[in-house]
Symmetry: C2
Subunit: 211 residues, 2 copies
DNA sequence: AGGAGACTGTAATAAATGTTACTGTAAGGC
DNA sequence: GCCTTACAGTAACATTTATTACAGTCTCCT
């Protein structure tokens, strides 16, 4: 069953022999929405391949407040974690399941081995780094170039897309945490977006119209 | 002569055989301070290894305004460019020489070859990605978590470090460009920092005291 | 039913940043 | 010297974001 899902998500990328190795040495991990997967400062002993679900990656400031960096989806791996594995350093980010999620965990010893052995694996790793750097640039653009209302709108759109529905289950406070601002600011801007006809507000959820 | 500088900067990292290949296939490129090295949207046909000098990496918003991402120094390579080379995509950033700079340009065909052939090269590439991701996180922290006065102070310290002197040759307008704000804001904050005894202002230059 | 706690709306105010406008001064060309 | 231009200082004002405070409503628990 693991093999099937693995195949579905990754057989376009990896050669058969590597697929077998992954199935052999990887272990399945299932996480419920909201559960923490990696904490800042932790040593990472295995690398995740995402089979199903979604993960949000967060950064923390010195006061313990958060900032959402980006989401990971099926077929993604966490280049940040990858980076930690290879460098044997502590995690610089926190990872939390956005939905119920299935992962395959690859022990780091295999990473090095596969890197020299399989071209497809090397390409996957490079490709992951590339995607992640692009995503980080996007994050920087959003933070540096956009006002809070535009950031909020983008956040809602991302969230809608990730969850595959325009009805987002989230409180104002949670949004405030992700965008590193205060609940009052979010409530105010959400109300403005509602008046502009872009969203509809309900208790504990938001319907995104403008998609 | 190229070989000597190359050796000085990279012989800790690369095995002898690879050093020879680099010397053979790489071409020396010299850039004066202020000169543009890579432009956004350009296809990159070779990868730079920094021998000497410093490069600043910039991002641009839709109005053409800039934002400084980070500096590169000796021994660094531009993971962003690397990423572009491997993926055959356009550059997402602009690179400008911060000081007079010497580079070795590696043709991209060699990259793929060396990646499978030399372990030290693979490690270098992975290491570069790791460093770059960390640097990007740092940039995000600075933008997202700090006020403009703290960002300014950090900017001045970085710049002093890169140029190896506490007397920075720069105008308020240039700083404003790098930090993506206006000249007036920078002048105001610089004056405040001067009153706090952290810097001394002169025409076209700033002396950083608090280091 | 009643109470506690989470969630939302909103006003009032403060602080940070952005914008416009004007001044004075230094440097370089003629 | 005189003119032009770049650079820096600063005031006045606008906008954006942050903070504090409080009220109203919904949900769940007992």
């Amino acid at each position: 069953m693991l093999e099937e899902e693995l195949k579905e998500a990754y057989h376009f990328i990896f050669e058969d022999e590597l697929m077998e190795e992954i199935a052999k040495f990887g272990t399945l991990k299932e996480v419920k929405a909201g559960e923490k997967i990696i904490e800042i400062g932790e040593y990472v002993k295995s690398m995740p391949l995402l089979l199903e679900g979604a993960i949000k990656i967060l950064r923390e400031d010195k006061d313990g407040d958060e900032l959402l960096l980006y989401f990971l989806e099926r077929g993604d791996t966490c280049a940040m974690t990858l980076s930690c594995c290879l460098g044997q350093t502590k995690s610089e980010i926190r990872a939390v399941a956005e939905k119920d999620t299935k992962l395959i965990m690859i022990p780091i010893e295999k990473m090095e081995e596969w890197t020299s052995k399989y071209k497809s694996w090397r390409n996957f790793v490079f490709e992951s780094y590339h995607t992640r750097l692009s995503e980080m640039l996007d994050t920087i653009d959003t933070i540096a170039f956009l006002n809070m209302d535009a950031r909020l709108m983008r956040y809602l759109q991302d969230k809608a897309k990730i969850n595959g529905t325009d009805l987002i289950q989230v409180t104002h406070q949670e949004i405030a945490y992700d965008l590193h601002t205060s609940r009052v600011v979010i409530s105010r801007l959400l109300k403005k977006l509602e008046l502009e006809g872009k969203i509809v507000l309900q208790r504990n959820s938001i319907k995104v119209l403008d998609l």
